[in-house]
Symmetry: none
Subunit: 335 residues, 2 copies
Amino acid sequence: MATLETISSIDTAPRHPIRLVANRTGLTVDLIRAWEKRYHVVEPARSDTKRRLYSDYDIERLRLIRIAKHNGRRLVDVAPMSLEALRDVVSEDSRFDAAQNNQAEVYRPSWSNPLESTDTQDSVDAMLFAIQTMDQHRFDHLLQEGLVKQALPVYLETVIGPLLREIGESTRLGKLRIAHEHMATAHLRTFIGALRFRETFTGSEPKIVITTPTGQLHELGALMIAALVSVDGWLPVYLGPNTPADEIAACAMQSGARAVSLSLTYPADDPRIPTELTRLRSQLDQKIPLFVGGSAAAHHQELIARLGLQSPLSLNGLRQSLNELRDRGFRLQSA
Amino acid sequence: MATLETISSIDTAPRHPIRLVANRTGLTVDLIRAWEKRYHVVEPARSDTKRRLYSDYDIERLRLIRIAKHNGRRLVDVAPMSLEALRDVVSEDSRFDAAQNNQAEVYRPSWSNPLESTDTQDSVDAMLFAIQTMDQHRFDHLLQEGLVKQALPVYLETVIGPLLREIGESTRLGKLRIAHEHMATAHLRTFIGALRFRETFTGSEPKIVITTPTGQLHELGALMIAALVSVDGWLPVYLGPNTPADEIAACAMQSGARAVSLSLTYPADDPRIPTELTRLRSQLDQKIPLFVGGSAAAHHQELIARLGLQSPLSLNGLRQSLNELRDRGFRLQSA
DNA sequence: GCAATGTTGTCCCACTTTTGTCCAGACAAA
DNA sequence: TTTGTCTGGACAAAAGTGGGACAACATTGC
């Protein structure tokens, strides 16, 4: 899939001005220059008039260094590290960090073998088997393991998404009991819910309200989105499932959110959906885009078009729209 | 166990600054230095500008010493110990602790302290304020902070329980919006859900199925119980809310659970409750006790009595019953 | 029971190193 | 013109270091 490549190999083309980099990383412009001056943390390309031009690669580096610093690393130590080394350090630190990690259990030597494309299907199958045998530890282990192997957005798209579909399908076909589905869902609710706390927030991130409208009780899709956008420098205001339109609008207003995202899954033809969407769109500031996703979004195409809502086709599409919105927004802010 | 071997080959390369060590161990920077000054607990290498540089080995030592201290050991005694000796001491202590656990709490003087009651009230108030202002970071910080201060069972009973009631009440009175309640609930769902993974499981724990019956959509009570029992050496099989009686019974059978616990909150007078409870009791092996708790349990007193269900009055009551059951079971098992 | 003594977490000081912010003057972009 | 970026340097806040003081508490000896 194209998605895989675009996400995993980071673009090194220089194109971002320093202000945008500052906004995305949460660092100040001065600081970025100071780091460059003192430790050559990043050495951006220059325009023909000597303006710095940063690549996505640079931005990723800076973000990682910022997190490493937050974890107690010294700039001197992390500055010369490669992106991979930084990733390792950061993930190691955040695994150990937080007084949460009471005891051992860590130091796992297992992921030496790289991931192949068929692996994800295997991985999903293994999880389904763990669910069927009600082996919670194994299930949890598989979830954690898969997550370490790849970036969160890829993981959500290639593992968690398919897993959810398989669980639904298997339950419908009677291959899994409702009890199995319940257990798996409850487990995933905790797991995905915790994902967004892997990121460090600066407080300057734009906010996005994420929920499902009245009648939509399945929250895992919305929760995945909350985890996803937190990777890209948004702060999700997550409201859980089944939130009335008025409340969503009120929440967006109070929190000063820059976007709203709804997830529709089941029931796909709930008669309340048109009412709620219309109501929400009218109560919401016109400048705030309203994203509608989930498997049931396809059932409401004309409605979505009529109301002028955004309906990205994949998690990746949503990501891109939000990235654009975020960067555009920052320009306005500073102007 | 596998963990031991992997840990025993700990890197002794000095590379971590003191701040990071503080983060990882939960000790303060001052304290780490004081320990070094007084007892040479660790003797870190130095950078060329005399900054301390700790190795993974040092960190592991400090972490173990911290646990040993927490268990009541004196610093003087543990300071000169080798890593292996420390491990032995710590694991011995925690085993002893676990055995004593149940009574130990009652004797702690801090609970009878009158300050305590206002303390937790303050803490709950602070959380409510964070919810009202939609300050997710603050809310999360308060939750984590409170948890550090006291044992999990106490925390659940004195902070989380009251907090849930206050949120419900405030929403009913209009002091909080539904959106606030949703946000708080979603957040708590993740937080409480993660609590049970703080424990390390050996695989030999007796299992207990935890859920809510059909019609009961609020899961936080059940989730609290899952976290609670995992502290006491049970392995919760958590099914989320709204599980049909047949499925609960099937799950108990497949997983070989030794007990089942249901949480009833809202609606208190749902007509499905008697049907479901009766059905579940009849399908479940008579040797498996069925616990029924939650605020709505009081509405079904005669039913509970008639079916011979257990209905502990508090989390603590449930704990005690389960402890007895577990110990009785263990005796049988070994006899 | 009480005083003396030991233990231990926290804080303060004076000093050094590291790191974040600010400024001035030149130039580029809008 | 106004705003933003660039360079180089200055400055100050933050964090680390060694040394020591001190209060809270536990233990010991009488």
